[in-house]
Structures are given as C-alpha cells and as structure tokens.
Symmetry: C2
Subunit: 326 residues, 2 copies
Amino acid sequence: MAVYTDVSAEELDGFLANYDVGQLMSFKGIAEGVENSNFLLHTSKGAYFLTLYEKRVALGDLPFFLGLMGYLKEHGLTCPQPVKAKNGEALGTLAGRPAAIIDFLEGVWPRRPNVAHCAGVGQALAKLHLAGHGFSMTRRNALSVSGWRPLFDQAASRADELQHGLRDFLNAELTYLEARWPKGLPEGVIHADLFPDNLLFLGDKVSGVIDFYFACNDILAYDVAICLNAWCFEHDHAFNVTKARAFLNAYARERKLSDAEQEALPMLARGAAIRFLLTRLVDWLNVPPGAMVKPKDPLEYVRKLRFQQGVTSLRDYGVEQPGCAA
Amino acid sequence: MAVYTDVSAEELDGFLANYDVGQLMSFKGIAEGVENSNFLLHTSKGAYFLTLYEKRVALGDLPFFLGLMGYLKEHGLTCPQPVKAKNGEALGTLAGRPAAIIDFLEGVWPRRPNVAHCAGVGQALAKLHLAGHGFSMTRRNALSVSGWRPLFDQAASRADELQHGLRDFLNAELTYLEARWPKGLPEGVIHADLFPDNLLFLGDKVSGVIDFYFACNDILAYDVAICLNAWCFEHDHAFNVTKARAFLNAYARERKLSDAEQEALPMLARGAAIRFLLTRLVDWLNVPPGAMVKPKDPLEYVRKLRFQQGVTSLRDYGVEQPGCAA
C-alpha cells in the first residue's frame, strides 16, 4: 500500500487543464503499488489513474514504459493506455514528480487464482510477447542473471538471520545458474512482474494487463518461468500441476514454445525464483523504521526454488507437449 | 492512510450478492481514513464505498452512525447513504468484520481551504444541525469535557517529551475548562469531526458531508468551535479572520446562534482545541512500531489553544453579529 505524495485539488486542477479528460469529480489515493503514488480519478469523462513516479523508478525509463503501453495496446493487448496531454506528451509533472494520466481498466485481480485464471495469464502473457514484437525502444533487465550477485552481496552477511544456511544455499545456487544460464533463446519485451495483482479479470476473463514498470527486454521464456512461480503454487507452497498445465497450454496455444525453450524452462524457473527471493531478501533486511509497506516473505521463494531444483523436465509441470491436448 | 483488512474477490462477490448493486467491475483499497478499511467499488450500477469497521469503532455504535446518515439525507443534508441489503439491513459481515456498502459521493476535499470553502462548511454544518433535529437514537460524546482528563492521565507523564512545560499547561487548562464548561446551551446531533477531509466540494460548492464515525449528541455550538479550529487557521498557524467571518456568517444565516451560544464560543473553542490536542498526543505517544499511519502533530493544537485562550469575544473572530452583513 502506498501513497507517498499527496496532491492538492488546486495542483491537480492545474495539471488536468493540460489534458482533455473533462472536469475532476473526485480523486482518491489508492493503497496499491509499492513503487509509485497512485490515485483513482473520476472526471466528467470517466475514470482514470493518476500515477506519480517516486524515486525508485528511474526517470529515464518512463518513456520506455509509457511508450510500451501504447504500443502493446495498438498491437492488440488489453492494457491501460497513457493519456496524452494537449502538447502530445504522455509524461508531465505534478507536485514535483513525473506524473502520467492512464486509462482506468475495470477488473479485479484474483486473490486466490483458480485454474481458469492460470489459463488466462498464459494466454495474456503470450499475447503480450507477440504484441511487443517490433517495439523500437529497449530496456535491459537489471534483474536478470548478472544483477543477482550484487543483490546477494548486499544481503549475504545477514541472510542466515532468516534461515540457517541461507547464505550458502544462495551462493551455491547463484554459482550454478551463472555457469549454466541459457543463451540464444528467443528474446523480446517481457513484463517481468506478471503476478496476480497485475492481471485484472471480469469473471474468469482477462480484462487487462497492468503495471509495466519492470518491463524490459529479455528471454521470453523467462517471463513464462516468472509466472509459473507466481501463479502455480498454493498458499501452502505446494506446486499445483493442474494450474501449471492450464497455464503452459494456454500460453503455447498463442505462442509455441520451441524445444530449446521447453528444455530451458526449469533452469529459467530456478532463476526466476532466486530473482524474487533476492529482491525480497534485500527489502526484508532494509525495512526502514515506520515503513508503510510490509515486505513480502523471502522464504516463500526459498520453497519455490527448492521445488524448481527438483524439476527435470516439463513432465514435472504436468505437460508433455505444451499447447497440445493432454 | 489505511487498509487493515484485505478482501478477496470471491468473498466480496458473495457479500455483494446480498445487495442490489449490480455486478462488481473493480475494487480498490483507499488510502484514507484511519479508523476503518475503505474500498472504492465500481459496479455495473455505479460507484460505492465499502467500509469494513475495524476494532476502534464500537460495534454497538454502528446502528447510530448508519441510521444517522439515512436520517440526515432524508432531512435534506447531502451525505452518503448506506445501501440496504436485500434483507433490509444496512450492516453486514465481510472478512470477519462488520461491513457496509455506502453511496459514493463525487467531490474533492479542499487541501487548502479558501474563504468560499469556509462559507461552505458553515452552511453545511448548520444544515446538518437542523437536519439532525428529531433523530431518535442518541450517542453520548465520549470525547467531551468529562473524557479529557482520562486522556490527559494517559499522556501526562510523557507530555513534556513533545514540549517543555506541556504537562502543566494542559493540566491548568483542563482545570479551567472543567470548572467553567457551559451548560444549558442548545444540544443535538453533532458531526464532531468536520475537518476539511470530511467535506467534499465540486468547485466551491459543497457536494457532501462524509465520515460520521464521531457523530454524537452534544452542544451544537461545540461543533461550530471544532470547525473554527479546523478550518480558519493558516498552515503557518495564523488565525484567518476573513475565513472565520465567512464561516460564522454562513452558519448563522442557516441557523441563528443565540446570545448564550455566541458568548460561549471562545470557551467551546478552547475545549475543542484541547480535545484534538489530547487525542493527537495520546496517538503520538502510542504509535506502534511499523505503524502504517503517520500520527498528526499535537503541537498544531497547542498553538490553536493558545490563540483561543486570548479570545474574549466574537469580535476576535472578525464578527459583530454572526449572520448579519458586516
């Protein structure tokens, strides 16, 4: 939950005068998102999001994120669209922060994803990968394999505070992954954070992909691996083969996974697990006093990583040939 | 900012099935309100608030608050209305908490109230006092004069941590007020917390009074005194006579202030100042580690109290005869 910057009605009125979004009727700070300050606006024309970008988001990355949202929408993905100001710019300034007005998408993110939701994310992710093809801007993934060791170094000396032996466990896993991280797989624009709270549904149907603030260029199947970890485990940390099958089949029906991608998936899933494990660990160890954000549990991802270490092929995910009837 | 209880879409769907509010389109936790968890819902029928009552609100008081909102609306005040469930009840249960669906009112609360806003609150407050006449339920004000000494006793030993001499200052003021607190003034339903964040405007026009969770029966002019402190000081703590005049005149045009009320107002304003000073002081000294709510500054109300101690008549508020042209 987060609203870091409050905005006065007077400042907001001045800002909105630059846009063709109608008269302001109400605005409410939203208790969602840990990177930015988000407000839900009602105007005489409808509902919009107002996002103020706080310091964790690099200003130089904003044109990539906003441009990508526009490009993906143009290429058939249902996602929010930045509203351009009268001067043609999607990015403005409000309360001393970079700020954007973005379409409000109706929909509810699934607190308890079911099999239909997992199929939904598979289809949406593949559509995103296809829609991103040809996008001209690029952003490297700072949280891919070369970014993990520096995170580990920040957290190593205190990792065992969370779990005895965690430091050695992480070090060994990193060494393993650094030596074997796949090369030559298809790359493109990935979402890189398509957790349940970033996918909206109306009923069982996807109504929109949101929150592109980790999007970057990387291995497409790595994005599949991130979702496998994020969507296909139960609250008791058991892997759910039925959900994984629904997810992978739905993905592959939209975008075929090559043999090389299928073979690499367990390794990519180990990488995806350690990536979230490490950022959660660093956040956990660096919660400022009086923080308004409760850090997520790193140990959830230790369990997921241990599961992925035991996977030898897609059969462990419940599929023989993704996209073909079981 | 506050969302203490998260709600799953599944739970919410089940809850909404008891109401005739249409299909759920989206719901967002709102970073406002420190007593309850609030969500803004969009449904196929419109926008609603969902409030989950957390432990600071006494369950036994909810029928008073919800009944009052209905009564005031029926009697001409623009305020949100609880939506009755199909069984006729305004109060239900969700995620183990008492919960209610309430009309969403459009409007924006003024971060920097101007003179027109101060006239708006004067008129709205008087309308509220008139509309509340005849409401059959009652709730005593636990935060009136007899409630202050127990708050002081909780905070006294640590009061000087905030400001040297604060303990003695508060003790002397309480002794003074306890001996002289007015009796026999007109009483009725008061809002008791009509700060700028509880009054919505569209432009300079009031669009609704919200948040009735401190409402109670008490001296009507005490409510006037609360607003005088909450609306008529500048950010630099200077009292603004122009705002006070606009506020008091607008109030008195709707509901005349008797001579006794006018005479008592400076004393009531001292009481209103110490009431918020004491609750803020107790909150300030009891912030739990990792709290998600930033406590409000008690010293703001020390300055207001010192101002009110110097007031001898309504002339110090800029008015001779409230409600008459200056």
